[in-house]
């Protein structure tokens, strides 16, 4: 049922004979070949003289076209010239056109803003498919059904077109149609160029990313805004990169371990996996040692960790005694000997941590004393020699920071190794999983916190 109200353009090809009515299954909505009208607005604007048949579609905008019912009756407004020429040629050409037309029709509909109407067209256009969205441009999947329909449509259309052509035969109209074709072609070319440009940019982007990654690994300092800080920049960036890689590898080893534990692997094989994880821990301590020598302040700052991890950080890393406390409940059943061993380990690691903490406090106090020993304030900076001397002493004290960080890492490493010695293979595997889960949760917490909605 066509329920078009009066159409504004007398020259329109909205002739009754153009309207296709199809009963039953051939649910095809065909729009005129609007060419490549991804940017319909531009196309229309550039060629003011073009009276595109889509203007018949524009008539929809003015609400001239009533909503079609679900009766599978739909009306196709066809562009004569395009229709006849292209349809008559090849089937596939038509099919392309048909798909294209549908697709473009949807695009145009959205640009027209009369989505509701077109939506229904879309709806009626697909017997088998669900409602299309206004902005749908991917109708490729829907096409199988339609292809045949289009072909059938085509033949029916050609007949009516020829009749109408004879009737119309207007020079002005023909010229307009030619211009329409031209505009459509230009649009297509523009789109092609644009897409090509996007592809090139994307390719360039991946290239740049790769370059950046490579350069980072070579320790080249790329970031702008840091003019004289090359020395520390290298150490920090290098460690960060190495740490990220280590973490990835660690996650892989842990997931292997996890599946091994869950699959009740034999102890011998499990032992290999546990040893693998322990050896991998040795690797991070080695990296940290290099990083400490390169940039002790960066390592101490913990900026290479996530915020939540950093919150619980002690002297540039995790607190061994805390880890053992966390493990406490997850290691059962323990023999008496094991229990004693774990308790002693917890106590000794706690004592070692306290000792190092107190040493650090003494270092801090000593630094404060040194830096403030030459007179400060208005009367200050009297004797340059004194100042330089004190600076030299302060430098020496700062160097001991490296030693403290080193001792802290040794403590962590040795605690893990002792834990591995006390526990059975299976217990050690579980312990490593627990430790990983704990730190993973801290990392997840960091992400969640950073992403939280703020008012």
């Amino acid at each position: 049922m066509q329920s078009f109200k009066s159409l504004p353009h007398p020259e329109m090809y909205c002739h009754s004979s153009f309207f296709l009515r199809e009963d039953g299954s051939r649910s095809q909505t065909r729009f005129a070949d609007l060419g490549d009208l991804d940017q319909p607005a531009s196309a229309f604007h550039h060629d003011g003289a073009v009276d595109l048949s889509p203007s018949s579609m524009f008539s929809l905008k003015s609400g001239n076209v009533a909503v079609l019912s679900g009766d599978l009756h739909y009306d196709a407004v066809l562009n004569t010239s395009i229709g006849s020429v292209e349809i008559a040629t090849t089937g596939t050409g038509c099919l392309d056109t048909g798909q294209y037309m549908y697709h473009k029709g949807a695009a145009i509909a959205s640009s027209l803003g009369n989505g509701h109407c077109i939506e229904n067209w879309g709806d009626s256009g697909m017997a088998d498919n669900s409602q299309q969205t206004d902005t749908s441009t991917d109708v490729d999947t829907d096409d199988r059904n339609q292809l045949h329909g289009v072909q059938h449509c085509t033949i029916a259309v050609v007949d009516s077109l020829e009749k109408s052509k004879a009737k119309a035969g207007d020079q002005k109209t023909l010229r307009r149609l030619a211009q329409n074709r031209e505009a459509a072609r230009k649009s297509r070319l523009r789109k092609k160029a644009y897409v090509q440009q996007l592809e090139n940019s994307r390719h360039r982007l991946t290239q740049l990313e790769q370059e950046l990654q490579r350069a980072r690994q070579q320790g080249i300092f790329i970031a702008t805004g840091f003019s004289g800080d090359h020395g520390s920049g290298n150490g920090a960036v290098t460690f960060d990169t190495d740490y990220a890689r280590w973490l990835e590898e660690h996650q892989r080893l842990i997931s292997d371990l996890r599946s091994a534990v869950n699959s009740h692997m034999s102890d011998n094989e499990l032992h290999l996996l546990v040893d693998g994880v322990m050896a991998h821990y040795d690797e991070i301590f080695r990296l940290k040692s290099i990083g400490t020598k390169a940039d002790v302040f960066h390592m101490l700052s913990g900026m290479w960790m996530t915020p939540a991890e950093r919150c619980f950080m002690w002297l540039g890393g995790f607190r061994s005694s805390e880890l053992l406390k966390i493990l406490g409940n997850h290691l059962e059943p323990l023999t008496d000997q094991q229990l004693v061993g774990i308790c002693n380990l917890q106590q000794s690691s706690q004592q070692a941590e306290d000792a190092l903490s107190q040493g650090m406090e003494a270092l801090q106090q000593s630094l404060v004393d040194t830096v403030s020993s030459t007179s400060l304030g208005p009367a200050g900076s009297g004797k340059v020699a004194d100042y330089m001397g004190q600076m030299a002493i302060a430098m020496g004290k700062l160097a001991t920071l490296e030693n403290f960080l080193h001792q802290a890492d040794l403590l962590r490493q040795q605690t893990l190794q002792q834990m591995n010695r006390i526990l059975t293979t299976r217990q050690a595997a579980r312990a490593l999983l627990v430790i990983n889960d704990y730190t993973s949760r801290l990392r997840a917490l960091s992400s969640l916190w950073l992403a939280r909605p703020r008012d």
């Binding site: 061993g341 690691s349 000792a355 040493g359 650090m360 270092l363 000593s366 030693n403 403590l411």
Partner: protein, 123 residues
């Protein structure tokens, strides 16, 4: 809290010339736990706190307060094969090592038995 050498000074026969290493060994065997330190060294401070935290009462020799401290420092550096002489710990007259060795032995559970054997720890 620490026993310093000066409290024993009057009992010791004065030695003007002596091998520093010999002196070190002699001093080390005089007490159960002997620490050679430098008063301004913070790592030495840490190691002292470690022993105190365990309930041990170590004997500390501050090399910067000893007239022959300099040569003893050098001797210790040679002994340890390290660029830093202090802190260094002797237990029961035997060399244990610097901070890393002491901490390692504490973590792996060998320090406490050592201290007990030397009579520095009870219970």
């Amino acid at each position: 809290m620490y026993q310093t050498e000066s409290s024993w000074g009057s009992y010791m026969p004065p030695r003007n010339v002596g091998d520093p290493l010999e002196r070190i060994e002699r001093l080390a065997s005089e007490n159960a736990v002997v620490i050679f330190s430098i008063s301004t060294c913070c790592m030495c401070h840490a190691i002292k706190r470690l022993f105190c935290g365990m309930g041990v009462n170590p004997t500390v020799h501050e090399l910067d307060e000893d007239p022959r401290g300099k040569e003893m420092e050098k001797a210790l550096m040679r002994l340890l094969g390290s660029s830093s002489a202090v802190p260094v710990v002797f237990i029961g007259g035997k060399l244990v090592g610097a901070m890393d060795r002491v901490m390692a032995s504490h973590i792996n559970g060998t320090l406490v038995p050592l201290l007990k054997d030397a009579g520095a720890l009870w219970l």
